[in-house]
């Protein structure tokens, strides 16, 4: 009976160490006017709000992963998918959260990204200039 109780406690302790004690070690924000280049010779039409949340693909055990262009592109593409015809995100707020999860072999860092903004469609033309 006592042995079973000890085993159960051990299992609970390991489960807690492996997954239950994730903690946020930093949250960062960025405001941006546009996700992609805005041609001066274009018309832009708002299509509606978008909101997306995704986890970074990699889990590093040495240090939190830095920002990469791949993360930027994945996040923008995920937001653009939400509205048909959208090819740019305007006036966005981006939130990056870095979490640390202790594990039996050290720790793991995980990045979470959130983006809120307005999806829009940009159509390229040519403006009359002197």
């Amino acid at each position: 009976m006592r042995k079973s109780l000890v085993q159960l406690l051990m299992v609970l302790l390991i489960a807690c160490i492996v997954s239950g004690c994730a903690q946020t070690i930093g949250t960062f924000y960025r405001l941006g006017p546009q996700s992609h280049f805005v041609y001066p010779n274009s018309n832009i039409k708002d299509l509606g709000p978008v909101k997306v949340k995704m986890r970074g693909a990699d889990k590093s055990d040495r240090f939190p992963s830095f920002m990469t262009s791949e993360m930027d592109v994945s996040l923008y593409n995920e937001a653009l998918k939400q509205v048909d015809g959208a090819n740019i995100i305007l006036d966005y707020v981006r939130k990056t959260t870095i979490k640390m999860e202790p594990s039996l072999f050290g720790q793991k860092f995980q990045t979470e990204e959130e983006l809120e903004g307005t999806a829009a469609r940009m159509e390229l033309g040519k403006q009359e200039l002197k």
């Binding site: 001066p40 830095f66 990469t68 791949e70 200039l129």
Partner: protein, 130 residues
């Protein structure tokens, strides 16, 4: 006795190779950037197609760094791939550091800077303003 010594030697070699394979790690820092140069509102901008350029440097026992001139050269290399291009739009800019430790030898560090995006041509004119 000789055979035991040989086994120990082979074991050490195997351990060294295992350590060698296990002591390499990579860190990337980068962004997705809308435009490399200021886009004048009184201009027409024409996309010219995808371009890519990179620069690498490897050092032994130290941290390699790229000079501003080398970064500018890389940027100009990317632009030169499209005739008439004078800016990059919607491009990725990533710097990757790879550390490789060779047991009993030392650490090699490589820095790689990559630019990948679309070349474009900006023609500046004058808008009529009231």
């Amino acid at each position: 006795m000789t055979r035991a010594y040989l086994f120990i030697l082979l074991g050490c070699c195997g351990l060294s190779l295992w350590l060698c394979g296990g002591c390499s790690y990579t860190v990337t820092y980068g962004h997705f950037v809308p435009n490399s140069q200021f886009a004048y509102p009184n201009s027409n901008i024409k996309p010219l197609g995808p371009v890519r350029a990179e620069i690498k440097k490897k050092v032994f026992e130290g941290s390699p760094s790229l000079s501003i001139e080398e970064i500018k050269k890389c940027y100009n290399d990317a632009l030169s791939q499209a005739s008439g291009a004078n800016l990059l739009i919607n491009y990725r800019e990533d710097t990757t550091l790879t550390h490789t430790t060779v047991p009993y030898v030392g650490t090699f560090t490589e820095v790689k800077y990559v630019l990948e995006g679309e070349a474009a041509q900006q023609t500046i004119g004058q808008k009529h303003l009231k």
